[in-house]
Symmetry: C2
Amino acid sequence: MSKKHNFSAGPCILPQEVLKKASESILNFNNDNLSLIEISHRSKPFVDVMDKAINLVKELLEVPEGYSVLFLQGGASLEFLMVPFNLMKEGGKAAYTNTGAWAKKAITESKQFGEIIVVGDSSDNNYNYIPKGYEIPADVDYFHCTSNNTIYGTQMKEFPEVSSLIVCDMSSDIFSRKVDVSKFDLIYAGAQKNMGPAGTTLVIVKDEILGKTGRTIPTMLDYNTHISKDSMFNTPPVFAIYVSMLTLEWLKNHGGVEWIEEVNNRKAAMLYSEIDRNPLFEGTAEKEDRSNMNVTFLLKDSEKEEVFNQMCFSTGINGLKGHRSVGGYRASMYNALPLESVDVLVNVMKNLENN
Amino acid sequence: MSKKHNFSAGPCILPQEVLKKASESILNFNNDNLSLIEISHRSKPFVDVMDKAINLVKELLEVPEGYSVLFLQGGASLEFLMVPFNLMKEGGKAAYTNTGAWAKKAITESKQFGEIIVVGDSSDNNYNYIPKGYEIPADVDYFHCTSNNTIYGTQMKEFPEVSSLIVCDMSSDIFSRKVDVSKFDLIYAGAQKNMGPAGTTLVIVKDEILGKTGRTIPTMLDYNTHISKDSMFNTPPVFAIYVSMLTLEWLKNHGGVEWIEEVNNRKAAMLYSEIDRNPLFEGTAEKEDRSNMNVTFLLKDSEKEEVFNQMCFSTGINGLKGHRSVGGYRASMYNALPLESVDVLVNVMKNLENN
């Protein structure tokens, strides 16, 4: 069977060597003749995995002292609820940017807790740009933004200076580029893009911001619960955390975030150049806000789609269909996607032009 | 390396053929040359997995019409919160049994929502029995119980007749014995005992009981959210659901719940007989409430522990250490544990006596 080039938007491609080790661990983990998924999460081999995963996050992202790293469940969708529960004061308010479907869900969820001020909003143009130049009131409990919008192919290149706390949903671009964690108070990310399989959520939170709202927070929704139990308050999603650990190890061994940022820049440059050069295609996101993770584009003549789809299929290109709310195509180029796959796609685009 | 006999309390033993298929799926799922964990959860191959898993639950447990089957995240611990959020009216009350550490956590969580009446409580004797003969007030919004208590080795053999709704945490004995689902309004269970790996939670809920509390329920905590999206409101824990599907398929192919109940009865009879016969050992739970899943016992002479531990180790017996709150030993004999492993343990116990 031909090699696949996996441009899936998430869950998405993971490094082959990670998949190999993950597969082995299901049969025999730690050379112990037991499967990873049939041992106690409190056994030393798994506690070591958890510690290693947490330390790799700290090392790769240069997480400063005073922050906790958590592996939780429920995806970014549960964070949309946990963030206001933990950070918005009774009768408080928060500022959000509305940059896409996920940001909108975060806004909806937070409205149960207080006043929400949408300070930047790109819904007027189907979220094809990142709002800028907005003002964030100084008296909000926190400012919330989404760093990368998978559906629309936009990405924040800079983060605003704020006087309040700043919270960021980095689900779809964490570990893809250098970020100064010290400028954030809380970062969260579903694992299933650059970190691992679906089933766990990474949270990086500055300890001192917690416990200040006066709210009664349900046990499982309180970050302090999970901090005090090292993410083992209840049975953690063992497999998802193990594979995340392997993926972070892979990233470290290849040169870390600095290395992958350069690779990601090269991949993005290759594909965006072709989109801009090739008269058959056009990008859908504003150029200055283009995402390095998710490249959204259209065939100007939609009648050519059938041929293009067939050419993609026959070269092993997978997961290129755009989200239904944007249409066209979306090439997701997460960390594990090799340059070679981008090259294959670019060649198919050239071939379509030449035929 | 010698074969392991895995008595781990959870995450626990899964069938070898399930582990083999799970391992293969990480490298090449569905013969598509892609890993299970790098494809979209909305792709047909995974939607098929989800459908199959739901249908297997319905078939194996004979779930009646009018119930929904959900695969969620957050474990039983998040259900402790979701149950009162969805079922307890504003200013309402609920009845709980306190049969162990997990029941106690469920009680603690529910207290934020209304009046909690503990109708049966075995904490007076370190939870070594199941309370019976209690009365459940007719005006509670629901009655909540825990069917099996892993730490203490007790199990409800019968469920009370109630006039209110009845909710049961079946995390540690679901799929181990016949249960009349029609008698329950809501059943939940963390996957990591008889169903699959850690990382997903099974919920079986009678649709008509929902949406009646007058509460505003956060999106992710509202069962109706997940019902309306077929457990795909957000990215599901793909791997945990796939392995659950495989495990349920294994159960069905071997004869279903009726078959495994008989096997489980035989395993329990073998081990409890030896505990009662062998003068060196004693069980810790009341005989009539003994669990078929978790067998808790002590060496009367604790000085023999070192020798016994060594004998267990050298025969490949794993995970036999009792929970710190009970001490001694705990042999967890979930569905996938073969009779052979129980035989090995019983022989070690006999050998200890004969030496």
